[in-house]
Amino acid sequence: MAFRTEQEVDSLHATIECEQPQPDLYKFVGRINIYKDKEEPSCRPLGAENLLLRGATLKNTQHIYAVAVYTGMETKMALNYQSKSQKRSAVEKSMNAFLIVYLCILISKAVINTVLKYAWQWSPDRDEPWYNHRTENERQRHMVIRAFTDFLAFMVLFNYIIPVSMYVTVEMQKFLGSYFITWDEEMFDEELGEGAQVNTSDLNEELGQVEYVFTDKTGTLTENNMEFIECCVDGNVYIPHAICNGQILSAASSIDMIDSSPGGYRREHEDLFFRALCLCHTVQVKEEETVDGIKRGIHQGRPTSFYISSSPDEVALVEGMKRLGYTYLRLKDNYMEILNKDDEIERFELLHVLNFDSVRRRMSVIVKSSSGEYLLFCKGADSSIFPRVVSGKVEQVKARVEQNAIEGLRTLCVAYRRLSESEYQEACHHLNEAKLALQDREQRLAQAYDIIERDFVLLGATAVEDRLQEKAADTIESLHKAGMKVWVLTGDKMETAAATCYASKLFRRSTQILELTKKRTEEQSLHDVLFELNRTVLRQRSISGLSVDCLDFGLIIDGATLSAVLKANQERAGSGNYREIFLEICRNCSAVLCCRMAPLQKAQIVKLIKASKEHPITLAIGDGANDVSMILEAHVGIGIMGKEGRQAARNSDYAIPKFKHLKKMLLVHGHYYYIRIAELVQYFFLQNVCFIFPQFLYQFFCGFSQQPLYDTAYLTLYNISFTSLPILLYSLVEQHITMETLKRDPSLYRDIAKNSLLRWPVFLYWTCLGVFDAVIFFFGAYFLFDNTTFTSNGQLMTTNTQMMFGNWTFGTLVFTVLVFTVTLKLALDTHHWTWINHFVIWGSLLFYVIFSLLWGGIIWPFLNYQRMYYVFMQMLSSGPAWLSIILLITVSLLPDVIKKVLCRTMCPTATERAQSNRPCLTVEPSTIFMLSQSSSRMSF
């Protein structure tokens, strides 16, 4: 019953029953009822193998006939799609928190002043002395309205404490700053021809805050480029085109060598082994596109066709076989054709395929050779093959497999079984029965497979390498040292993933592996396993106590168990909170491997960690469409611009060409961006406190009349032109430590972990500093102007010509001290003085002076007041003004300098140590060596 044309399909009369849409990509249960005239309707099962997912592309056929079962938002891919939500960085969150504090300060300032104003002017002589009457209109206004307008006026007067321009500057800093990532030459990949790419500039500083890294395996940690490395038949190793036992051997000669060795038994195994690998797979052959109308055949020796499979391992195996002389040609009319090394075509009839599944972890085929023999070939994970082997050189193969696994190679064992006619019939019977079952189909199939796949004769093993990306291990090691927890989330099976984890140093030899897998939970209940693991972890922690870092745990969990953990929690909320226990275990593991994950599960696990009580900052990195949901879920999503598609890169916040670039991205760029923006935020608040607090104090001396201390031009331009440029440039080019140091010493990253520069104590310190400075500015000027409070007599601040100064001079004096102090404070914080910093810092001070001279030097025709006329010049022509400006600046800067110096001397942070070590490091390379040695010793 085949449908090859549209007419034939059209004649089909059938109904399809299927389950409700659900996100599991690997699962589909349905059936098709085909109605034929007069006959009983026949029923066929539909499984995941019958389903094409949205976005799938046809590879080896021109067209197919299909029925759409799920459409639109109900497709499995759409259900796995995570809607894009706006991401905000932790810095932004603390920024907003600070802002709320300042808003409260602003409102309370306004309220205090309004209340005091009305208390103060209770007596009419104060409210309206004879020299200062209200207009008739104002007088008639109702008291409440007047109070309200006063309140609003105070709000307007003090509103500069809310650094509105900070938001503009932060945005500019982020936008411009992100160019440094794009420009980074070290993150440019020659091969790909692309550098890093920034899709959102909102999260630059978040790169410096990462605590959890969730990484995909295939294509991210590894190249996703499988390569057949070797095979081993009965303990003899075959390596195509490579060094074998110290000799360079071509594929052919290695076979020859074996030919020459005696023993027909061995020869037979070898033949079977190669055939097994050529037959036991689900690879499909796609012939190369015709070139110039001539269809190039496969016969002409070298490969002209492609192998296609959903598993790259199989392709690598089949290609490896080709290099060893056995070429799989095609599957034609249920016959598999192999070109053996003698250039003869062998044909095998393909009878049954016992598909791979993750529980069995093996697959088999049953073929009938041209000589009429029934053969069952099986390949699979060593753990699932060895128990079923009855003969063969188990010991040698096992040794080889173990050695390969240690090297991080993906190993498979190959075995076969000769079936007699009756055995074959029995197997057929089992299989067909199971396949047609509508209920518990999977279980019955598994049972059938179990019966058939036994009494194997072991042939050998293969090793395929999915090469780790360049420097992947180094990167992971650095991330570990930087205090990040690295989780590998992969769809692959556990063994493969674990091998990669070892190779990439995610797990070290000393790592104690905790397993939380389906296999284990089948034996014990989930509850018991969780509690047991938790006990192990806690006990170890309490025992080791001091030497915590000498024992670290690695956790392996698979998708099924994970969903069980999460589901159990939903069902019985509160009691026996698995989620908490699971998180507790994870918290104590330096590395976690999650295998067999569906895309949405990846996102779920990211979400789980995100929502845990410490609210850690998470980063997800991946390269494929299946990583998109976790990339979108994590605080920072990074896409690898892999060979496959750009979906991850498009949906990510940052895209980098290779995994190794993550190191520089986090340790250097992230670190820089964080300290830059932290300083930017704190500095802006400081700058505005310094600016507005004197104005607040002034209200106590001007009858709470909302008289501004500074001229309008100063009020407007303070944030825009006098102070914003130096901090903007600082926040673009500051490098408190050199890049090399940051890269060399990843532990410096810990210094800024947990938003350490924007925590409340730090914020409080900066605010206090701001208030202190403001008090110094205001009362410094006050005592210099006032002649009764402090000195009882004596007239101050007069020029040699004895002209008295007015309130605008007072404000200008305070403002001048303010601008200089604030700019010099930034200068003190700058650790990296490029010509840009010099230019901007001194330039903006110069600009202030020039502007003030100009502003006061001309009668501006468009202004209706000339209050600033010559004020600045008159002030500068007075000696005491200069002296007091210098004095006030010195006093304002003093506490911060002292705090810095004392902190650095008494309890230096790692960062500060690295800073002061800088000169000596360059001078004495031996010290570096010693330091690096000791640090590496510590980490092991």
Binding site: A56, T182, L412, F701, C702, N787, G794, L796, M803, L883
Partner: protein, 367 residues
């Protein structure tokens, strides 16, 4: 291994996709400039005890002498102050202050005797001081029209709204308008030296040179360029509280109208509610005789200015000045204090640096 996982990334299977052409490849490569690679040459200072120490000592050594200099200078300045508000019954101006009324035509005069126990050698500056007078009140500060004061004829006839309620009086524009001008200090102070032989010698008081030069010559100007000020101010009326119109402030045409220096000084609003303003200058006549010799003096006050309604005080101050202005011990004391604190901190840091620095170094080495 069939379908070991559905990999969306396997869309491409194993067909190798040839990368983009070499040409586009090059253009995408970021430029290797120092700025773009964040490798600009830079000076990298660190604030350590070692670098800050010398700065502290230098500041200490610089500030203390400056402070001492300032303090000594300030102490050498001679200053005399007398309060003539007339709050007490005993005060000579008590009657004037009690009987004050805006409408009285006959000026009230009071005489205050005082004694200077040391001679004032150099130029002496006479100030009047007011307390509890909020010249810095917002409503007050803005109540002026700078273009009117600059001599603009349009503004003269239609003063700015800021001057309200002191802009118009009986439908005539007020010149100068606004609360500041309206409340101009109008006590007249005269100083007499009581010669030991009993004669009262009037001391000449200079009315000019007390305002900023730029204010007098640029910022303020009489309207119209008409030398006859009476004509120039035609159609305007005097401020409500003034006794004379603005064009009768002084007989000297160079010090009359808006460019009257007493007026200009008043118009520069003070920063704080207690302030003093320059009133007159007593110039030194010759180097032989002190400007104000030791002895008895009489201050004659024409008491026009009411301050008791807002609990204000009025003072007269006589003061000499130095290079650093008037009497101001604060600056000197502040300099001495800051200098000493810096010096002290320098010593503390030196000790800390010595102890901790050694400890850190040894820790580094032993590591």
């Amino acid at each position: 291994m069939m379908a070991s996982s559905y990999n969306a990334k396997d869309e491409d299977g194993h067909i190798t996709v040839s990368g983009p052409g070499g040409g586009t490849l090059r253009s995408k490569k970021p430029e290797n400039t120092a700025f773009k690679q964040q490798r600009l040459p830079a000076w990298q200072p660190i604030l350590t005890a070692g670098t800050v120490l010398p700065a502290f000592f230098i500041i200490g050594l610089l500030f203390i002498p400056i402070g001492i200099g300032l303090f000594v200078t300030s102490n050498n300045i001679k200053e005399f102050e007398v309060d003539y508000t007339g709050v007490d019954m005993s005060s000579p101006c008590f009657n004037c202050s009690q009987n004050f009324s805006w409408n009285s035509t006959r000026p009230c005069t009071c005489t205050i005797p005082f004694y200077l126990d040391q001679p004032y050698e150099s130029n002496v500056y006479v100030y009047y001081g007011l307390s509890n007078f909020y010249q810095n009140h917002r409503r007050y500060v803005k109540s002026r029209d700078d273009s009117q004061l600059n001599g603009d004829v349009n503004s003269l006839m239609s003063p700015s709204k800021e001057c309200e309620p002191y802009a118009f009086h009986e439908n005539k524009p007020i010149a100068p308008c606004g609360a500041i001008a309206n409340s101009m200090f109008n006590d007249t102070l005269e100083l007499f030296y009581n010669d030991p032989n009993g004669t009262r010698i009037p001391i000449p008081l200079n009315t000019t040179g007390i305002a900023w030069w730029t204010d007098k010559h640029v910022k303020f100007g009489n309207p119209g360029g008409n030398p006859n000020l009476t004509a120039a101010f035609q159609g305007t009326t005097k401020p409500v509280n003034w006794r004379r119109p603005v064009y009768e402030l002084d007989a000297d045409p160079g010090n009359n109208g808006f460019i009257n220096e007493d007026f200009i000084v008043w118009m520069r609003t003070a920063a704080l509610p207690t302030f003093r303003k320059l009133y007159r200058i007593i110039n030194k006549k010759s180097s032989m005789v002190p400007t104000l010799p030791r002895g008895n003096y009489t201050l004659e006050v024409v008491y026009n200015y009411p301050v008791r309604s807002f609990e204000g005080r009025k003072r007269v101050i006589l003061s000499t000045i130095s290079w650093m202005g008037g009497k101001n011990p604060f600056l000197g004391i502040a300099y001495i204090t800051v200098g000493s604190v810096c010096f002290f901190l320098g010593v503390v840091l030196l000790i800390v640096h010595h102890k901790c620095g050694n400890r850190n170094n040894s820790a580094d080495i032993s590591n």
